[in-house]
Symmetry: C2
Subunit: 340 residues, 2 copies
Amino acid sequence: MTTSRRAKPETVTIRDIAARADVSPITVSRALRGSEVVRPETREHIARIARELGYIPNFAAGMLTSKVSSMIAVIVPNMANSIFATTLQEIGEGVGEDGYQLLIGCSDYSLEREEELVRTFLSRQTDAIVLTGHLHTPATEKMLRQSRVPVVEMWSLSGAPLGVSIGVNNYDAAVTATEHLISRGRRRIAYIGGDPSGNDRAQARIQGYRDTLEKAGLDFDPALLRTGSFEFDTGAEAVSFFVEEGLDVDAIFAASDIIALGVILELNRRRIAMPEKIAVCGFDDARIAQMVQPALTTIKFPRREIGQRVAEALLAMLSGRAPPQKTCDIGYSLIVRETT
Amino acid sequence: MTTSRRAKPETVTIRDIAARADVSPITVSRALRGSEVVRPETREHIARIARELGYIPNFAAGMLTSKVSSMIAVIVPNMANSIFATTLQEIGEGVGEDGYQLLIGCSDYSLEREEELVRTFLSRQTDAIVLTGHLHTPATEKMLRQSRVPVVEMWSLSGAPLGVSIGVNNYDAAVTATEHLISRGRRRIAYIGGDPSGNDRAQARIQGYRDTLEKAGLDFDPALLRTGSFEFDTGAEAVSFFVEEGLDVDAIFAASDIIALGVILELNRRRIAMPEKIAVCGFDDARIAQMVQPALTTIKFPRREIGQRVAEALLAMLSGRAPPQKTCDIGYSLIVRETT
DNA sequence: TTGAAAGCGATACCAC
DNA sequence: GTGGTATCGCTTTCAA
């Protein structure tokens, strides 16, 4: 090598290419970005040299001047849960075609963690930020407002979104599920769900459940409301609790299919018949809902559609167009199977 | 506001803080990074002003000089599949504590796509890159070598890794699965798996299956080897094919639990008894393996451990320490349930 | 303990 | 069409 540069000799810059092509760096910059203004032959010549040299552009440098990172941040509570993973994949595919990369953060259902993540994502100059839910710390909202970065809140619907809100009315969905159980003649309906603190989806579902009971003239029994992690065990443990405490329960609304799965397996283990003794309704319509025995009645949560709409909205906002609408209600549906 | 800066007036820089604190920008830089060299009072003073001003550091600028992005790229074939999602989450948690952010890319099982992703990740100056498998395009390998970025290849084991290899011997695992089926007295053993092109895991599993048949003196029947997508349908369709073609099959080795699930459901639908008529062995030990009826015998693939080890290795390499070992075999195990 | 100067690599803006 | 110049915001290096 006969380069006369200092420092890391491996790093090829547009300067090196410029020297070899006998043009100025700025021409290289233009050529590499496919600017129409550069003569085609020059462009090809430069492209060839770049390839020969194994040139790899430095995004950080570009970001500094152009102010665009081509990165989009998405914060989900958890990504091992396939429900969020599906949406992430969908968003990634949607925006990937336009050259955007996803920066994914897990909040672990903590608003403080979300705040931290927003801070670092803003530092990284992401071009947009997608949040799960519309409940955030004041600091998070302040940062987001100040930064003027396009924001999408997904999953639940917000009346006053920071930017755009795309999701489902979780309250209504819970009402539908609870009404369905009531329509099956159930009167002692339990609720098992994830911890509602800092989680607007969980809060809305609980509220929908309680309001529906009340409207039907059924008593709300606090002992029948169980919350915990969004895991399998929460469902199994709640069932054990009901049985061991001798609480008579004739239906269970599990606010996630994973939890419902725990419920079903524990009921199976105890040989408690579904839906005869206890009816079960889940939430999400995860793949396992149709797999378990008996197959789970559940609310179909449009995780794929949400991802698609989020991607659309992002691309619209990022290209300066107005997003289709401030608030986009994707809708849900009740899938009746064997457990009710 | 009485700032005298041009351009975007919202952007607060260390210069602004310096002006307010009556120190030089470099002192602010040091203070904000918690350098011990700055007097504690000055440090606190600066921190307070930064907070007041809503200062958000610009990573791009830092990256340009310091050459570290605190980002780690991970390329997986697919992230909606919970098997990869779990590993991603584990890696994210492991490196997150040290301030690293994950940049996740999906290759969709395409080596060309992987190459593209590696190129953009290198552009983004990721501090390390994690790949799934050890099969890559020549261009990918060349870029990675030239860049001198720490590389981890996970999932399968490689004799000559680009950097560090952490995973499972897929060949051996397939041998174990096939031998298990043979030990159950099966002689017409089918293989259903994902497309092996560009996928060393799939290739190794097929090879293990074929070699084991041969060793046992069983004929390899090409009609019993079915490949397709890593989806549910592949399993169901293969079963239909076997039945409709009248091929007598007494065991099925499905190289992924999702595929095995399709197999089980289709067999159930056709009222073909497991394991009496057909024994089934899966691969992964996904959560559904113990949920389906009958419960699925499968190879437990240590997705969580892989994530943890990958994170450890990354942190070691990134802090200049040598990783524990070039090649790390995590091991697998056979979980016998009801389908065999 | 603090600061001045010199970039990092690429791009925007304005000449030519 | 092409090039010079001035940043972008921060950190490294060397002095004080």
